[in-house]
C-alpha cells in the first residue's frame, strides 16, 4: 500500500506539517511564532493591506504571509533584518498619521499599534506628522468613532459586512484621503448600525471604542439620595477575569459580587434570574403559538442587535419575533415595579445599572418603550470592559477578593438562566421548560447536546411527546439573514429560531474584554456550561423565587400584568436618516405635499409604480404647480406598505389609483369645486 507522505515546509529552520491551513500566516502561528498583523482575522476574508506579516520565502522574495497559500517545500524566514526594518517603517508611517494621545485613549492597555511599536522597538517616529484632525463621532448610544486613530486595516468594514451582513461603514475616497465612514459621511447613529459593536471588538486601535457610562455610574454611587442596584449578565462572569490576567472562561461570579459591593452598589442581582423568567414567558408563548396556530417560526428576541436588525430589514417578520423583552429589560421593568415598595424608595430614586457583555444593550436601555413615563427601566449599561475599568480605578485587587453571594430574591437563578450567554443556550433553556410542560413529566436528562456547537448556522430536530420540534440556532447577523429570508419566502420548516448577533453569542459580545487568545470564545462558552453543571437546579421552572414572583406579584404566566411588564412591541425602522428626493416642487402657498416611500420594503411592493403613476397624473392633469412630490426612504410603516404620505396623512397599501383619489379629495377639500375632473382612468382596489 502506498504510504501518504505528509507535506511539510520549513519556517525559521523548523519543519512544519501542512494540514489544511489556508495561508502561510496560519502555519507560522502553528509553529508558535506570533507574526504581527492588523488586518488578518481568521473569520474574515484576507485583505493583505497592513504589510506586517511579511515573510521571506526562499527563491521568491518577501511576501505577505496572510495572502500566500502554503506549498510543500517552501523555506520561510519570519524575522530577517530586512523584514524587521520594513515592519518598523510600516508602523512608523502609521504613527505619523495617528493621534498619539495614548495615555487618554480607551484602548491604551490593549492597542495593537502601541504593542507593535513596542515589540518592533520603534523609539522614534522619523516622519513628520501628517494627521489632519477629524471630529469624533459620538452619535451612537453604544460606540464612539475616532477617525484620528484609524489605521485603515478594514477589519471593522469586513466584520460589519462579511459576518453581520450590514455594511454600515465602508472605505470612502482614495489615496491619502481614504477613511472609513458611514454612508454620505453621516454619523453612526444616523445609519443602519445595529450597535453590536463587533467593529470595535476587531479594531486594533482606539478608532472604534465602546461609549462609556462609567462616569455617570460613579456619580450615582456617590449620591446618597439614590438607591443603586445592579444586575450582571451571564456572559460577564466568564469574561471579566481576562482583564485581570485570568484565563478566558474562568468563572468569577463570587469575586464580581464582592467587587460590586466594594464599589458601593446597594443590591447585587443576577440577570440570570430574569433569564429564567424569560424562559417561562417565552416558552409559554412558543407553546401557545404552536397550539393556537400563531406566527411560526418564532424568533427569540433577547438580542438587541438582532431586534434592531429585524426591525430594519425584515419588518414583515416582526410578528414572528417573541414579544418577550430581553432579560436585561425584564429585570429592569420588574425590579422597578416591585422594589420601590419593598425598599421604601421612590421609583425615581431607584437606579438600575446593568453589567452586560454587549454594546447594543446600551441602545436597548434607551428605547422609549423600555421606560415608564420617561423613566428608563434600566438607567445605565456598563460593558464587562467598563466594569473592569471601575474595579481597576477603585484599586481593587480583583484576584485577592473573597467571593460573595448575590442578594435575594433576584440573585437566585438556575443553570438555564446562565447558559443564556452563549449561542444555543436560550434554545436549550426553553427546551428544558417546554419539554417538561408538554409531556407533563419530569425531565431528567436536561442537556440537549443537539443544539450546542460552534457553527454559525445549526439545525436540530427534537422529539417531544411524539411530535417533532424543528429548531435553528444562528449567530452572526449574515446567518440570521439567510434564515430570515427562508422564512420570508415561506421555505422554512422551523418552529423556533434562536438568533444572537455576535459570533458565539453573548460570550463573544463586543463589551467583553478584547480577546487575547484565539479560542477565548470557546473557553467562555465552556465556562458557562460548566457553571450550569455546578448548579443544583437546571430548569427555570424549578426557580422557587420565580414561582413566588408569579404567585405574589405577576399573577398568571403570560397574563395581563406579566404582559404589561415583561413583553414589548416592535416597529419597523428606517436604515438611514433624513433622505428624501424632491421630484416635483411647488412654490404655491396651498401646495399639497406628497411623499412616496421608496425604502426597500415599499419598493419591493411596487411603490415605484405608485410614484410614477402620481407624477404622470400630475403632468397630465396640470397639477404640477400644486404638488410637491418627493421620494422618501421609509416612514417606518413597512407592515402596511406601500406607504404614501399625502398632506400629512399616511395612505397604506397604496396604489397609484388610490393615491390619485386621495390627493384629489385633499385638493377638493382645500378649494371646493376646484377638483380636477379628469378620471384617473383606473380603479383603486385595496
Amino acid at each position: 500500500m502506498n504510504q501518504i507522505i505528509q507535506p511539510t515546509l520549513t519556517i525559521d529552520g523548523q519543519t512544519v506539517a501542512i494540514e489544511g491551513e489556508r495561508n502561510l500566516l496560519e502555519l507560522v502561528r502553528k509553529a508558535n511564532i506570533d507574526l504581527p498583523t492588523f488586518c488578518y482575522h481568521s473569520e474574515l476574508s484576507v485583505y493583505g493591506a497592513c504589510r506586517l506579516c511579511l515573510v521571506q520565502v526562499e527563491g521568491r522574495g518577501i511576501m505577505g504571509a496572510c495572502s500566500t497559500p502554503p506549498e510543500p517545500g517552501l523555506k520561510i524566514q519570519t524575522s530577517t533584518p530586512q523584514i524587521r526594518e520594513i515592519r518598523r517603517i510600516a508602523v512608523e508611517l502609521l504613527l505619523a498619521n495617528h493621534d498619539q494621545s495614548c495615555p487618554t485613549c480607551p484602548r491604551s492597555a490593549n492597542c495593537q499599534l502601541q504593542i507593535l511599536a513596542q515589540r518592533l522597538g520603534v523609539k522614534k517616529v522619523r516622519f513628520k506628522s501628517v494627521l489632519q484632525p477629524a471630529p469624533l463621532d459620538e452619535s451612537s448610544p453604544s460606540l464612539v468613532r475616532d477617525p484620528n486613530k484609524c489605521v485603515l486595516c478594514g477589519d471593522c468594514v469586513r466584520m460589519c459586512w462579511e459576518i453581520q451582513g450590514i455594511g454600515a461603514i465602508d472605505f470612502t475616497h482614495r489615496g491619502h484621503e481614504v477613511s472609513v465612514q458611514p454612508a454620505f459621511g453621516k454619523q453612526l447613529g444616523d445609519v443602519e448600525c445595529v450597535n453590536c459593536g463587533q467593529c470595535a471588538s476587531v479594531c486594533p486601535t482606539g478608532a472604534l471604542t465602546i461609549k462609556s457610562e462609567v462616569d455617570q455610574v460613579w456619580d450615582l454611587l456617590a449620591d446618597p439620595s439614590e438607591t443603586v442596584i445592579v444586575q450582571i449578565a451571564p456572559a460577564v462572569r466568564v469574561g471579566l477575569g481576562e482583564c485581570f490576567g485570568l484565563k478566558p472562561g474562568e468563572i468569577t461570579t463570587g469575586r464580581i459580587v464582592a467587587a460590586l459591593k466594594h464599589l458601593g452598589f446597594d443590591q447585587i442581582y443576577d440577570t440570570s434570574f430574569a433569564a429564567d423568567l424569560t424562559v417561562i414567558e417565552e416558552g409559554t408563548e412558543f407553546l401557545e403559538r404552536k397550539k393556537a396556530g400563531g406566527h411560526l417560526p418564532m424568533f427569540t428576541s433577547c438580542c438587541p442587535g438582532w431586534v434592531k436588525y429585524a426591525e430594519q430589514y425584515f419588518p414583515e417578520l416582526l410578528p414572528n419575533l417573541s414579544t418577550c423583552r430581553s432579560p436585561q429589560a425584564m429585570f429592569g421593568s420588574l425590579v422597578k415595579a416591585m422594589l420601590p415598595d419593598q425598599l421604601k424608595v421612590e421609583r425615581k430614586n431607584l437606579k438600575v445599572v446593568a453589567i452586560m457583555p454587549c454594546t447594543a444593550k446600551k441602545f436597548e436601555a434607551q428605547r422609549p418603550e423600555m421606560a415608564v413615563n420617561g423613566d428608563p427601566d434600566v438607567d445605565h449599561v456598563l460593558t464587562t470592559q467598563e466594569l473592569a475599568h471601575m474595579i481597576q480605578s477603585a484599586g481593587i485587587i480583583f484576584d485577592s477578593l473573597q467571593p460573595e453571594s448575590f442578594d435575594m430574591p433576584f440573585g437566585f437563578y438556575t443553570g438555564a438562566g446562565v447558559i443564556f450567554g452563549n449561542s444555543g443556550g436560550v434554545m436549550e433553556a426553553v427546551l428544558r421548560y417546554a419539554a417538561e410542560k408538554v409531556t407533563g413529566k419530569k425531565l431528567d436528562q436536561v442537556e440537549f447536546q443537539q443544539v450546542r456547537g460552534d457553527s454559525g448556522l445549526r439545525e436540530a430536530t427534537i422529539m417531544v411527546d411524539g411530535s417533532e420540534l424543528r429548531l435553528a440556532i444562528v449567530h452572526g447577523l449574515r446567518n440570521a439573514r439567510v434564515v430570515a429570508e427562508q422564512v420570508r419566502a415561506g421555505k422554512s420548516h422551523y418552529d423556533l429560531i434562536e438568533v444572537m448577533a455576535c459570533p458565539g453569542g453573548c460570550v463573544g459580545g463586543a463589551g467583553q474584554p478584547v480577546s487575547t487568545s484565539r479560542d477565548s470564545r470557546a473557553l467562555r462558552t465552556k465556562g458557562l456550561y460548566h457553571a450550569d453543571k455546578m448548579l443544583q437546579l437546571h430548569k427555570s421552572q424549578d426557580n422557587v423565587f420565580i414561582t413566588e414572583c408569579y404567585a405574589k406579584f405577576l399573577g398568571d404566566i403570560g397574563g395581563e400584568k406579566a404582559h404589561h411588564l415583561l413583553h414589548t412591541t416592535y416597529q419597523s425602522r428606517r436604515r438611514i436618516s433624513d433622505e428624501s428626493l424632491p421630484l416635483m416642487q411647488s412654490q404655491a402657498e396651498d401646495k399639497l405635499k406628497v411623499s412616496v416611500c421608496l425604502g426597500t420594503n415599499c419598493f419591493l411592493k411596487g411603490s415605484q409604480d405608485v410614484l410614477n403613476g402620481v407624477l404622470r397624473y400630475a403632468e397630465r392633469s396640470g397639477l404640477e404647480g400644486r404638488l410637491d412630490v418627493r421620494a422618501g426612504f421609509c416612514f417606518e410603516k413597512c407592515e402596511s406598505g406601500p406607504t404614501v404620505m399625502i398632506g400629512g396623512e399616511h395612505v397604506h397599501h397604496c396604489t397609484a389609483a388610490r393615491a390619485i383619489e386621495v390627493l384629489n379629495s385633499k385638493i377638493e377639500s382645500d378649494n371646493p369645486g376646484h377638483a380636477v375632473d379628469e378620471n384617473p382612468g383606473c380603479t383603486g382596489t385595496d
Binding site: 465602508d170 470612502t172 412630490v629 426612504f633
Partner: protein
C-alpha cells in the same frame, strides 16, 4: 444659494434613473456604469439618488458612497452649467497652468474648496493629465479643448460664454426638456 437657472425636470430624470437601473437589471455588478449614467443625467450624483440606487441594488448605501467617492470622475456636489477643467499634470504645470487657474478663479470667484459659482453657471476644477501634453498648457471647457492657453485667453473665453448666456436670458424662453419616451416599467 441662488436657485438653478436650468429648468430641472426632476420627475423626468427620476424616470430615467429607473430606466438606467432596469437597463443593468438592478444587479450590484453594474454599480459603476449605473453611477456613470446617472451622473450623465444630473451632472453629479445626488445623495438621495444614491440612496435609491443602494435600495434597488440591495447593497449598503455606504458601499455605494465608497465607490462614488473613490473615482475622481464622480462628483457628489452639483456642477455648474459650464465646466472648465484646467490640466495641472507635469507638462502643463511646467508650462504655467497655475496662472491660468488663478486667473479663472479670480474672474469667477471660485476657490479650491468651492469650485462652483453661486449662480451655478461655472465650475472650475483641475485634472491630473488630459493626455494632450504637446498642447500644454491645456484647458477643457464643456468638452472643447483649448491648447497653449494663456490667462488672458482663458478669461476671454469665459467672457464669451457669459455674453452668450446674457443674450439667452433676454431671448424667448427655451422649451423645457421633452418628457421621456423611455418608460419605467418593472
Amino acid at each position: 444659494m441662488a436657485s438653478a437657472p436650468i429648468v430641472v425636470d426632476r420627475a423626468g430624470k427620476f424616470e430615467k434613473v429607473c430606466g438606467i437601473l432596469n437597463r443593468f437589471a438592478r444587479r450590484p455588478a453594474g454599480l459603476i456604469p449605473i453611477l456613470q449614467a446617472i451622473q450623465h443625467e444630473y451632472q453629479y450624483l445626488p445623495e438621495e439618488v444614491l440612496t435609491y440606487v443602494a435600495t434597488s441594488l440591495d447593497v449598503p448605501p455606504a458601499r455605494v458612497f465608497g465607490v462614488a467617492t473613490f473615482y475622481a470622475h464622480f462628483a457628489l456636489e452639483p456642477k455648474g452649467k459650464h465646466v472648465i477643467r484646467i490640466c495641472d499634470g507635469t507638462a502643463c504645470h511646467v508650462k504655467q497652468s497655475l496662472p491660468v487657474l488663478n486667473a479663472l478663479r479670480q474672474k469667477l470667484g471660485t476657490t479650491e474648496k468651492s469650485k462652483t459659482t453661486a449662480d451655478m453657471m461655472f465650475t472650475v476644477e483641475t485634472v491630473a493629465c488630459l493626455g494632450a501634453c504637446g498642447l500644454a498648457p491645456v484647458i477643457v471647457i464643456d468638452e472643447q479643448v483649448h491648447g497653449q492657453i494663456t490667462p488672458e485667453r482663458a478669461v476671454a473665453l469665459v467672457d464669451d460664454i457669459q455674453a452668450q448666456e446674457a443674450s439667452l436670458q433676454t431671448a424667448p424662453a427655451v422649451p423645457a426638456e421633452q418628457p421621456l419616451a423611455e418608460e419605467c416599467n418593472d
